[in-house]
Structures are given as C-alpha cells and as structure tokens.
Amino acid sequence: MFHQEGNGLDARCVKELRGLLEGFENKREALIPCLNIAQRWQHYVSREAAAFLAKETDTSLAEVYGVATFYHMLSERPLGKNVIRVCDCLTCHVKGGPAILGALKEELGVEIGGTTKDGKVSLLESPCMGLCDIAPAIMVNDQAFGNLTPKRAKDIAKAVKIGVSRSPAGRKRPGKSGLRSKVIA
C-alpha cells in the first residue's frame, strides 16, 4: 500500500516534501532532509523523486544524484521494507561481527546489499553506528540490537521476515490508534 507500482511519488510523500521545503529560505539546504524523506517513503530515491527535488531545489538531476550517491543511508535502487544494517567496524569485527553477518546471510538467503525476493528485508553492511559497547551489534530499521550471537541474529531476522512492516509515516502498527511520533528527517 505504501510501495506504489510504477515508482510514482505517493501524494502524501509529496505533501511532506512540500511542507518541509516551505520552511527553508534557501531551498538547496532542504535537499538532504528531503532525500531522507523520499528514502523513507519509497525505500529508495527514485528517478521521479530525484527529478522532483531537482526542480524544487533549482538544481540539476545530476547534482541531486551526486548528493544521493554520496551518503550511504540513501539508496538509488529499491531496498526492502525493512533494512538490517550489520556493523563491520573494528570493535564489532573483532567481537564476532563476521559470524553475525554469515548467520544473517544464511537466514535471509541474500548477500550483502541484497533484498529478499518478497521485498521485505534488505541486508546491508554499515560503518560504526555507535553501538560498540554492545558489540557485535545490528540495527533493524531504527531499532538497535546488541551482544548478539549468530543464533539470536537468526531469530531476529526470522521475526523481521514475518513481522509487520512499519509505515513510512512513522506509525508502527497501522490501524491502531495512538500518538503518532513526529519524525524529523
């Protein structure tokens, strides 16, 4: 329902982008926050989104792609609805990070950078996420998990595979009323 066919920009995504752009005097300064929003809605920065932002921020498409490809939280090809990031920096590496990565690859049946066939989960390697005190650690979307064993990592991957995917608007369980946390991109 959030993952639209034909890569068209979701109307609610456009509304959120326009709302953000309005608050900036120099539109160019809004580019990176806008790219973050597009990434959250579409799970990647589509050509449509890039073209839309190029127009709104008065730059070229190449310039927008230049920025989008520079930052590693932004992706130019579609990622799954959930993203598992595995830390591979020194502390996690020496404390068993490679074994965690191996377990996740096995459980999900994908390589680094791959997405499961149902489009639900992507597996990425990430530089340090500040979770060194609980190394080896991973992040599933915005949630951190630490002190992992390969078995626990597999359990988490299993839960993510069958679990409810989060809504890009920030609400965890669609349909259940409650406070909607405001996400500041």
């Binding site: 120099n26 160019r28 300064e29 809004a30 580019l31 990176i32 926050p33 790219l35 973050n36 990434q39 921020t57 230049g66 920025v67 520079f70 930052y71 590693h72 939280m73 932004l74 591979d88 920096c89 020194l90 502390t91 590496h93 020496v94 404390k95 990430s126 530089p127 340090c128 996420m129 500040g130 979770l131 060194c132 005190d133 609980i134 190394a135 992040m139 915005d142 946390s181 405001k182 996400v183 500041i184 991109a185």
Partner: protein, 404 residues
Amino acid sequence: MRILTQNFDKPNSQSISVYGEYLALRKALSMRPAGIIAEVRASKMLGRGGAAFPTGIKWEFARRSTDFPKYIVANADEGEPGTFKDKAILEKDPHRLLEGIIIAGYAIGASEGFIYTRAEYPKAKKVLAWAISEAEDHGYLGDNVIAPGFSFRIHSCTGAGAYVCGDETALLDSMEGFRGCPRLKPPYPTDMGLRNKPTVINNIETLANIPTIIKKGGEWYSKIGSPNSPGTKLMSVSGFVKRPGLYEVDTGTTLGELIRDYCGGVVGKFKAALPGGVSTKFVTQLDVPIDVPSLVDVGSLPGTGAVVVLNDTVSMVDAAKNCVKFFADESCGKCTPCREGTHRAYEILDRFSHMEGSLDDLGLLRELHAVMYDTANCGLGQSALNPVISAIDKFEDEFKRCVG
C-alpha cells in the same frame, strides 16, 4: 569528578524537570560576552572532537569578526568507530548541550544555532526535538531569552550517513545541501563558515561542559585533572574488557586505571589498544595518562576518547585491514592522496591477510602514510594509516609471518 554524566543515572534525565533551570545561562546573560570568553579561556578546555583546539580561542576569533549574522553549529556527527559519547549526551542530558549552545551564541553574537546529528541516531534526534520544544516552552529559546534583548533559536538538522561530515567544513557543505567534502582551509569557519558567515563549530561534549564552566568559573575547571588539558573526558570503552561502556574520568587518569578500575579489566591477555578511535595509533603500554600531551608523547593522539581494547586472540593484520577498509569506504574522493592511498593500502593489507605479502610492501605502506600525512586535504586522509603504521611498528613479526 562527574560533570557531564552527573544526571545520567536519574530517571527521565532527558527532561527539563530533572535538569532544572538554566542557571548558567542566567548568569552568562548578566556578563559581557568578552567576560564569558575570558572564563572559557581560563578553563583551558581543549575541543573534545579530536583536534584539541582551545575552545575559548575559537570563540574569540568568531566574536572579533565584524560580519553578521554569525552561527553556532554543534557537531553531533560522531562517526569515529568506537565512539558513542555524543549519543549518550543527546539521549540522556540534552538540556546541558542546549544551554551550552545558547551561552556560546550569546558570547560570539549569534542568534541561530544548529545541531547536526548523524542519521544513524534516530532516537537521539527524537529526544533532542523534544528537548528543544521544552526549552522553548520555558523561554530559554525564542525571542527575548530570559530577559529582553537577546534572541536565540536552535535548529536540529541531520545528515544521511557519511563519516567525513564529522570534519567541520564537510559538515557545513552537508548542511548546505551538498556532498560532504572538506573545504580548503583557510578561510577557517570562524571567518567564513555556514552560508559564508562566521561560524563556531564545536563538539557536543565541548559544548556540554560550558554550563559548568560558567557556573563554577574557568579557574575552578582548569584545576581538574591534568594541567595541560584540564577537565573531565568521556571515554567510550569497547572491545575486550569486562564492562564496556561510557565512563567519565578526569584527564590524566591512565589507560590502565580506566580499563582496570572502571571496566573491570581486560578479557584475556591484553595486546594493544586504540586510545581515541581508529584514526589514532595503537598503544601497547597501559601507564599512559589520558591527556593530550601524554598521548602525543607516546606517538598517538587523544582523538575522540574511544578506547578499543584488543586481546591476544586478535590478529593485528586483520585489525589493520579492517581500519583501512573503513577509511577506503568513507574517503570523500576529493583529494587524490586519500582517495587512492586508502585503496592501495587496503589492497596491500588484503595481500597480507591472504599470506601473500612482501617485505617491500611494508616499506610501501610507510611511504604511503608519509605522503598521505603530508598532502591529504583533511584529517581523514592524514590519519587513515595511523593504525596500520603503529601496528607494523609494534607487531612487525605478525606482518612478516604473512609474507608469502
């Protein structure tokens, strides 16, 4: 002495009801800006982001500039592997940081501040947004802060994942919507920073120290810890220790005391430690005091205070390769020595890890390090091979065993 972490154990430490009134701000607003800077200079505090530049002097440069408007930027793009101190301040005591930023703004004559948080810290961003709205409700932010005449606003902004944006000029480019490539210096940001206006960019930990310095005086602060780089330092300890975590110690405490008394000792047999993240050099002795001159004396650097402890199960070739892989991935590609040097170094270390190294390669790595140190544009390239060179210096046998 606990300054920055004094509220960390209290429940709801992130709320203004626990932090209390901004007493230091009230005091600062009754002083002249030059007087505030004099206090900060008297505290002799060195910047906590890694470069260890005296904070008071940086503020003085910005205050003297006659160009307006001026800006304060709080750098929360902590990407240095092993570091998690700024995240703790943002999540557990954001009001200490906000008060520090407002005081800094008043001292240099700025009316806008920015906090640039890295994209990997979603929770910190949420806590911070809440804290800013609390401060606005209490009249510490907005028009006429506390008393009429001084207005200040703080904006929270965010990156999208790039280690190099921790460099102050790359951070400015990122805030302006560009790829985060470090600019050529000079001009320094205190002359031409954000939007080409005078800008002070301080680390989160630096700014969080300011309220205490104003409340108790610079001279009081300068007497804590070691005289050359006084104060307390947040140390993120990770790796093979019994209790990894964040600890606040007086400067001058030795690495050994930190690991033994705070972290419960090393798991296994101690081999080497990085005293300040992966861009510093490995040290093998534990009696080094944690302060700037002492760490420089043993050939390392204070860095960000991220201590990564390695034990004898770790191969130094593997550790060095991991560090260089990180820098090769994170190099922005603007200057040639770093863009090419990090990848060539990775290739060489990859050969060693497959037992195909050669003795000539060790010389080549040293040469690469010398060239990158002399010619790279920013700190990333200059320090990228620090862990490699120190590993070779101290554990040459291990590298020689990998010669094919």
